[in-house]
């Protein structure tokens, strides 16, 4: 398969990239890892007039700690997340998700920022970053702004980013001293998209739940926050009863549809089971590190 012809740019600074986006508007696409965009171009579902390859912009590739949280450059590859010592313990939801994304070869190229900007409702990072309460930094002609990941997705493959904005980094806030979480994914085989994915992240305060983040993959038009489950958990003791109730509520929050991966009823059931399992893991594995 051959993509349609396009003008190619390989800027080395964000300023240059921004100028090109400004010039081409919504006729340009940003190329990061390309593991979603290039297949779409080959199928001619996307035929951008200009492609702005940001792989040469070094500052987008940094991963580090900041103010007790994490700062993850938009070009950080899934493989780096998989191997990073930082994405464990309190940030276990991220570390557990990384090796479940697609397959190892795709993970060598694919990026966290590209995955978010692509906004596939079956993308894994979206749910994980909603659960941990992350925000993204978008750089446009008038400077930068931050967008909570919970407000980023407006529909399937649609974000609140403007055509002249570049997603430059993801910021994961400090979850406090005691926190834990995980990401559970049901897939038919390695490399498939999620039939269902559930991201769970809990910050503990004085032995109870401080903040609980639960978000769902593959059961809605975008990654979805399980809002009623989160509300029920806030301030609660994370015992069996609370965990079962949260599982029930998360299943209600899901908006699954029947498809070739399973029936809506089945997916709802998996959401319930995964939410319970995830919360049990968060309760056992809560980490001070």
């Amino acid at each position: 398969m051959y993509p349609a012809s396009f003008e190619y740019f390989a800027p080395t600074t964000l300023g240059e990239a921004g100028e090109i986006l400004e010039r081409y508007g919504d006729e340009a696409k940003v190329l990061a890892g390309g593991q979603s965009l290039i297949p779409l171009m080959k199928l001619r579902f996307a035929s951008p007039r200009a492609l702005v390859d940001v792989n040469g912009i070094g500052e987008l590739g940094e991963l580090g700690e900041q103010d007790g949280g994490l700062r993850i450059g938009a070009l950080v590859r899934h493989t780096e997340c998989e191997r990073s010592e930082l994405l464990h313990g309190r940030f276990g939801a991220l570390g557990d998700a990384a090796p479940q994304i697609s397959d190892p070869i795709v993970r060598n190229r694919g990026t966290m920022g590209g995955s978010l900007a692509h906004a596939d409702p079956q993308g894994d990072w979206g749910s994980v970053l909603m659960a941990v309460g992350a925000e993204v930094v978008a750089r446009g002609p008038d400077g930068t702004r931050t967008i909570p990941v919970r407000e980023l997705f407006q529909g399937p493959f649609t974000t609140s980013l403007e055509p002249n904005e570049i997603l430059t980094e993801v910021r994961v806030p400090d979850p406090g001293a005691r926190a834990g979480g995980t990401y559970l994914k049901l897939e038919r085989r390695v490399g498939d998209f999620a039939t269902v994915g559930v991201a769970v992240h809990v910050s503990f305060a004085n032995g109870s739940v401080g903040r609980a983040g639960i978000a769902l993959t593959g059961v809605g038009p975008t990654n979805l926050v399980a809002a009623s489950a989160e509300e029920a958990l806030a301030g609660a003791t994370l015992d069996d009863e609370a965990i079962r109730e949260a599982g029930r509520l998360a299943a209600e929050d899901a908006q699954p549809r029947d498809d070739h991966r399973g029936s809506a009823e089945y997916k709802r059931s998996v959401v319930r089971v995964f939410t319970e399992r995830g919360l049990r893991k968060a309760a056992e594995g809560r980490s001070d590190g």
Binding site: P3, S5, F6, E7, F9, A10, E16, I38, S102
Partner: protein
């Protein structure tokens, strides 16, 4: 054809220099040319196979700066200034690469279509992890699909190659 300015003059063709199997190759390419077509058609290196053409099967796997990538899901212009290794670059003056010897000895293939991608992914694994467990081998190869073997002999071949490399 005028040469494309470095950044701001976007063009639909572009000169690239890619070091393929340690030999620099300079060509003028269409920006939409996929890396796999650059290797197979522009350079005539047909050892890199096109299987699914949809980023799923791993038959087109090559090493980009030592890292396995699917060459059907990358543009040739993105490889400009980088090093690519294909199956043709595995054997050296002293004969077959240990991974190739091991695939032959352990019968790690039947039809052979997936084999170049398997071997390149495996060499990158052994570079990073010289004595991998069976689970590690299976995990590393999980992006490379084989329709013939059931993977048993492929896994044996990678373990055997690890032994050969350690003995060198």
């Amino acid at each position: 054809m005028a040469e494309a300015p470095a950044v701001l003059g976007g063009a639909t063709t572009r000169p690239v220099t890619v070091t393929v199997n340690e030999r620099p190759r300079s060509e003028l390419v269409e920006t939409r040319l996929l890396l796999v077509h650059f290797l197979r058609q522009t350079l005539g290196l047909t050892g890199t196979h096109i299987g699914c053409d949809t980023t799923s099967c791993g038959a087109c796997t090559v090493l980009l700066d030592g890292v396995p990538v699917k060459s059907c899901t990358m543009f040739a212009v993105q490889a400009d200034g980088h090093e690519v290794k294909t199956v043709e670059g595995l054997a050296g003056a002293e004969g077959l690469h240990p991974i190739q010897e091991a695939f032959r000895e352990e019968h790690g293939l039947q039809c052979g279509f997936c084999t170049p991608g398997m071997m390149l992914t495996a060499t990158a694994l052994l570079e990073r992890s010289p004595s991998p467990s069976e689970e590690e081998i299976r995990w590393a190869l999980s992006g490379n699909v084989c329709r013939c073997t059931g993977y048993q002999n492929i896994v044996k071949a990678v373990a055997s190659a690890a032994g050969k490399l350690a003995g060198r």
